[in-house]
Symmetry: D2
Subunit: 265 residues, 4 copies
């Protein structure tokens, strides 16, 4: 049974991780919660007999988790992760906030300490599979567009997932508007945003924003007489937990540094 510690255990994501670990313990018996760290409610037994601790290093030392999970704020994650590796505790880190250099530094540290570390910006299995399948389908379809749907409190369009999907597709096929006639936009923007990096892609991305969506994406491939649609819908934070469990088990069984859930699917 994998001994798991959760850092930031009272946060929105952290508390979901705690629930998922406890649920795994009850239904599959693969893992057990051994410590929970947060700056609030120190000493309280929020879940069963695990009291909340406030000092990360002490918690690691005392409870000896096999794997810690950290979904705290971007500002903390980098320093925290160094602590885990230096303490030779394997970790699963969820963040979109690390720079390429920080990731490189953590990879180096992980190897020097021979301590596995799994970092990913997205733990939603279905979303990562959607991206992988879209890349694979790109070999066989000359036309594709991306639709992404989010709540209306999201500021940027298109979403990071849509851009990443487009990048993966453009590696395989440089032009997804093959055979299109020259087009006129009677209302500017109606044909969407044109993703094109280094002359590759020509993938139209359409961002829809309204209440009633959390995060959805549909990639549509077209060919004469047929369309193939790959769609993912997230409706709440539980969607991350399948990926977190996979990552915990992977880093426990394989002592590697890994960036991105796609590398273990």
């Amino acid at each position: 049974m994998i001994k798991v510690g959760v850092i930031g255990a009272l946060g929105k994501m952290g508390s979901e991780v705690v629930k998922a670990v406890i649920n795994n313990n009850e239904t599959k018996g693969e893992m057990i919660l051994v410590c929970a760290v947060d700056k609030f409610k120190t000493g309280e037994n929020v879940w069963g007999n695990v009291a909340i601790e406030s000092d990360i290093e002490k918690a690691l030392e005392v409870n000896k988790p096999d794997v810690v999970v950290d979904f705290t704020q971007p500002a903390l994650v980098f320093e925290n992760t160094k602590k885990y590796i230096n303490s030779k505790v394997k970790s699963v880190i969820g963040t979109t906030g690390l720079s390429a250099e920080q990731i490189k530094e953590l990879e180096k540290l992980s190897k020097e300490n021979n301590t596995g570390c799994f970092i990913a910006p997205n733990f939603t299995t279905g979303a990562v599979l959607m991206m992988m399948f879209s890349k694979m389908a790109s070999k066989y379809f000359d036309n594709a567009e991306i639709l992404e749907f989010h709540h209306n409190q999201k500021k940027d369009a298109p979403s990071g997932t849509a851009v990443k999907t487009a990048q993966m597709m453009a590696e395989i096929n440089p032009d997804f508007t093959k055979g299109n006639v020259p087009e006129t936009e009677l209302i500017q923007g109606s044909r969407g945003g044109n993703f094109n990096e280094n002359g590759k892609g020509n993938i139209r991305i359409h961002s829809i924003r309204m209440p009633g969506f959390v995060a959805s994406q549909e990639v549509i491939f077209g060919a004469p007489g047929q369309t193939l649609k790959i769609r993912h819908d997230s409706i709440n934070r539980e969607c991350y937990m399948g990926g977190v469990e996979l990552a915990i088990k992977h880093v426990f069984n394989n002592n590697e540094f890994i960036y991105g859930l796609e590398n273990i699917l």
Copy 2:
């Protein structure tokens, strides 16, 4: 039994109308083909014992159809329709090519001659219902966007149907982006084209173009915790025939001038 004549009977739409009338005759017995006019194959019995004729006025005089159906070219339709009305033959006219003035003139002529005439730019029952339902839902939702999907040989975006739908929705609700945070387009156009007429609408329209689609549209309404989607897909010209049959029966039974299928649904 309604006696039907088809003008432009060998055209793409005309030949579908002929098939639909013959099929109605065989399965429901509501109508019968009495004449077929085209400039090609004069005298040939393409369908049963109805030989193709080349002269419209003579065909009307000899065969005395109750209703003629005309889906010929925009350039011909206006003059043809005047002939039908002046000959006191009821007609069903399919075209997007008439100007507002031409429609007015035909309405006047129809009333003076007391001869019913049914004109519509779109005979697809499902598409017209989609527009009507979208208008009705607009009263109860503060957020909505329109997605329309066509083959990649279509030049203009957005489609006429999408614009008409947006106009109908904007009559009911002046702003479909209520509560949206200020948005930044990282790729220009990704939020779609903003439909806004006379300060009303703010409906984002997204046009998708690729092979594998004929004509589809989805109107999405969002509110906290829910979305309502109204979608129509056309896959071939048969989709017009339900509306054409309705129109033939309506103009036969009601001696009126009508513009638009929505007025009889």
Copy 3:
């Protein structure tokens, strides 16, 4: 400004109603929370300066709400509603648990006391519109089937909403499998459940059950060359709030007994 009281204010639905009333007050200023009743936390100021009370009748007397909202348990709702009417306080009642006789009795009481009362089993605007549109489309399509999607903790199939939708459609069109060839089920049940009441309907209903859905339904209409799809997705309890607000305003402005949200859309 409508003075609103919430009964069962700490319940899952009750607390959403409280949030919705407070949010309406802040953003639209149409209503204000004047009292909140629950059996727990008596005296606590959970929301602003409204303390939780435990006695319904006293709360009505002291705070004089224009409208009370009650989404408590089926076992309590009937008696509670009689209290509201007898106290001449208008009410909005959310429950699927009342019998036809109980509804009749409440209607009689409401009229005798000249006190408006609005009862509905479903307050989701989008779901009710989906049913209404499906009924309307039934006049123009000879083929339709219903798909409904729920989480895998739901025991019964099909859902109540699917059955009600089918009943509304069957009123308009007695057979939605027109023209289908005789069918063989190679795996029993693959063609779904056949809704047929009093020889009317023949609407196939397909119930999908898995985690990742809360409550969704899609009604698909087919005709040669076209399909029309009306789909509703609920992802959390917020979906009820639009309908609750409409009902509060309706019963405040119209002193009637009404059963069913469809009667005010």
Copy 4:
């Protein structure tokens, strides 16, 4: 440039293949039509300067095609294919009518003659990708159901594609109803047909039948908080042509016996 012969060139599929080869020649220049065989219209130049021939063996001898494509009737295909192999002409064969023994015999013959032969029951790239992706996703999701949509002239339910998809998924995951509560069908069949072979699968299949669909399938995977949907829509026979072109190029470049498009995607 690959020299292609089409057998059954006037058939529904054969004439699409002819069109696809000619179109490939004009737009990509990878292949050229060198002969067309059918029992009708012998000697007529239906396409450019290729006259229709009636004798297969003579046509092969005279025109020396690199690859022949045969989508004729099941009753003919087996004997035809033996002719192609014995004449040492590579072939692409489209049929669902061959028995396992016949396929084995053709494989043996192909190897003995060192002559490539590509046989597939389904040439639709998107449909085959849908099946492959569904198999892959089955490793990461514990819940899934299959929806398939066809026109109402289809006799059997579920479709062969749905059953094949379920078989591929069941290889990976023996139970796709994990965690479902015990269910009651208020209308029999509403939960669909339960695919289960050798105690594996438990995949509910739902077959929808109505005009307006040609052939569509959606595989839905569910997990807490998320769903992944893989959907394929065919709207006419053109959908096969991408796969036929891939097969022609593959068998030309790789002198193998292959059964199933999935083996070259």
